[in-house]
Symmetry: C2
Subunit: 310 residues, 2 copies
C-alpha cells in the first residue's frame, strides 16, 4: 500500500505542481490502483510513473471544481484506448455523472469497459468488500466536498503450524477449518479450539483523504487514528482569514486536525502556486510546530504505508 | 505571424507528444493569439511558452474528439483565474457549446470574461474583420470535422511621400485622403490621382489548418496557394488502408494535397505514438518525395510565416 501524488497544486497547474490527483496503490492488497481526484493532465503525469491505467479500479472525486475533475474524460478515454476492459466505478458528488457522460457523448467516445457511477449527497458508506471499506463525510467548501476514509480490514492471524503439530494435529483438512475459525474434534475425541492456534490479527491500515475544506468537525471523525491523513494546505498560517473566506485551510489548521485525530502521519497537498521553494518548506515548518510528523508533498512523491507491527 | 505547435500527437498523450493544439500567434498583426484545438494539457504546455492565455482571442475547434477538446474547460478557467477580461470566441462543430457549458456549470466555474460560441455545421465564412478572414469547410472524418483557411487581407501600399512632394503636394490633410484612396484636387485645379501615389499592396498571408480527415476534395480548396498548410499525418505511406478505415491520412496523402494546392510549406502533425524517433523522420522523408517543403512537427516547434517579397 502506497500513496503516489500525481498533482499537488491548487486552482491552476503551475510549472512544478500539476492540479490535484492522488493514487492509492493497492497492488499487493488487490492488484489495483484507486485514484482520488483527476485534475487536468493526470494521464500525462501517469505516463511518468509505473501506474497502468487499466489497473485503476475505482476513482473517488472529492468535489467538482475543475482542478479536481477536468482530467477525467481524457483519463477514461485513454484507459479504453490502451485496452482496459475491467469495469471502473466513479464515486463523487452529484453532477459527476452528467459531466463525464456529456464529455464522452459530445466527443463520441465509446469505452471498451463498463463505467459505473455512484453519486454521493451525504455521509455514507461508499463501498465495502472483504478487504476494504470506504466511508465519506461532507466537508465545508464553497460547493459540496467530501472526505474519504479508507479502512483496510484486519488481516486474520497466521495459522500456528508448529503449535498444531506439537499438539498432535497432523497437516490435512483440519488445518483449513481451524484457519477459518472452526473448532475441530480429532479422532480421539480431543477438541482443538481454533482460537488457540491462530496468531494475533494484523490491524488493517486507515488512509484518510480529504477534499478542499475549511476547518470542520467531520475532518476529525474521518481522520481518527488514521495511518495517513492527506489534507489540503492551500494557505499558510498567516492567511487564516483568506483561507476561511475561500473555504480553504491553512497548514496549521491541517496539523491541528492531525494532532487531535491522533493520526500517524500528515501529508499536505493542494499547495497554492504562491508557495514555491522555501515558502513551501515554510508551510511544512509551521505545521510541524503543531504536528511533527508532517510533510508537504511534491508531484511524484511516493509514500509507503506499512502495516504496523502488532 | 508565427505558428507554435503545443501538441503534435494523436489519440492519447505520449511521453514526447501531447495531444493536439496549435497556436497561431498574431502578435504584430493584432496583439492576439488564436488557438486551433485544445487537447488535454494544452494549458500546461502553454506554461512552457511565452504565450499568455489572456491574449488568446479566438479558439477554432476542428472536431469534437477528446484529443482535440478535453483541455478546453481547464484553459478557459485558468484564463479567468489569471485575470483575463477580454471576450473570447470559440468556433467549432455543433456540440462544443454543450460540452463547454456543462463543464463550466458542473464545476461551478464563473468566468471573468464573456465567452461566445459560434457553432458550425457547413462550409461558411467563420469570421471577417479589416485584417483577417477565416473560412471553414467540412472534411471527411468519422464525426464532423472542419478545416480552417485563415486569410490575412492585403496590406495597402505605402504613401509615396517623395513623389507627392516632387509633384508639389505639401504635407497636410490631402495626404490622408490620398492614402485612403481618394483623388485630391489642389487649389490650382490640378487633380492628384490617389493610385499614382500609393506603392504596391503587400499580399496578405494564408494559413490553412485542417482537422483530422481522410483524403477529401475540400482540403485542396482550403489549402489553395497557402503560405502554410498544417495537415494531419496519423499514418505512414504503407498504412493507407488503415488510414482510410480510421478516417485519417498518410504522410504521402498530405504531401499530395500540398503539391496540388501549390502551398509554400507543409507542416505535418497529429502523429501516432507508434512513430517515434527515426520512424517519425521516415514520415517526413516519404512526404518529401512528393512535396519537398515538408516538415514533421514536434511539440513546441515554432514556424515563422514571413510576408512574401512583392
Ligand atoms: Zn481545489
Ligand atoms: Zn485526433
Amino acid at each position: 500500500m502506497e500513496l503516489e501524488f500525481l498533482g499537488t497544486g491548487a486552482g491552476s497547474p503551475a510549472r512544478y505542481r500539476n492540479v490535484t490527483s492522488i493514487a492509492l496503490k493497492l497492488l499487493d492488497e488487490r492488484n489495483a490502483v484507486w485514484l482520488f481526484d483527476v485534475g487536468e493532465g493526470t494521464q500525462q503525469q501517469i505516463l511518468r510513473t509505473t501506474i497502468r491505467p487499466r489497473k485503476v479500479e475505482k476513482i473517488f472525486i472529492t468535489h467538482l471544481h475543475g482542478d479536481h475533475i477536468f482530467g477525467l474524460p481524457g483519463f477514461l478515454s485513454s484507459r479504453s484506448f490502451q485496452g482496459g476492459d475491467q469495469p471502473l466505478t466513479i464515486y463523487g458528488p452529484k453532477g459527476i455523472r452528467d459531466y463525464v457522460q456529456t464529455s464522452l457523448r459530445v466527443s463520441d467516445t465509446r469505452l471498451t469497459y463498463t463505467l459505473k457511477f455512484v453519486e454521493l449527497t451525504e455521509n455514507t458508506k461508499v463501498f465495502e468488500d472483504d478487504t476494504f471499506r470506504v466511508d465519506c463525510q461532507t466537508l465545508d467548501h464553497r460547493i459540496a466536498s467530501f472526505g474519504y476514509r479508507v479502512v483496510e480490514k484486519d488481516h486474520t492471524g497466521e495459522l500456528l503450524v508448529a503449535k498444531l503439530q506439537a499438539a498432535g494435529v497432523k497437516p490435512g483438512p483440519e488445518y483449513g477449518k481451524i484457519k477459518a475459525g472452526q473448532d475441530v474434534t480429532l479422532a480421539d475425541g480431543t477438541v482443538v479450539p481454533s482460537s488457540d492456534f491462530i496468531g494475533p490479527a494484523q490491524k488493517g491500515r486507515i488512509v484518510t483523504i480529504l477534499g478542499d475544506t475549511r476547518r470542520t468537525a467531520n475532518a476529525y471523525t474521518l481522520a481518527a487514528d488514521a495511518d495517513v491523513l492527506v489534507h489540503e494546505s492551500t494557505f499558510g498560517q498567516a492567511d487564516g482569514r483568506i483561507a476561511h473566506n475561500y473555504y480553504h485551510s491553512t497548514s496549521t489548521q491541517a496539523a491541528e486536525v492531525a494532532k487531535k485525530a491522533h493520526v500517524k502521519q500528515l501529508l499536505l497537498t493542494h499547495i497554492s502556486a504562491r508557495y514555491v521553494g522555501k515558502a513551501a518548506h515554510e508551510l511544512q515548518s509551521e505545521a510541524r510546530q503543531v504536528f511533527p510528523h508532517t510533510r508537504v508533498m511534491k508531484d511524484f512523491d511516493q509514500i509507503p504505508i506499512p502495516l504496523q507491527k502488532n
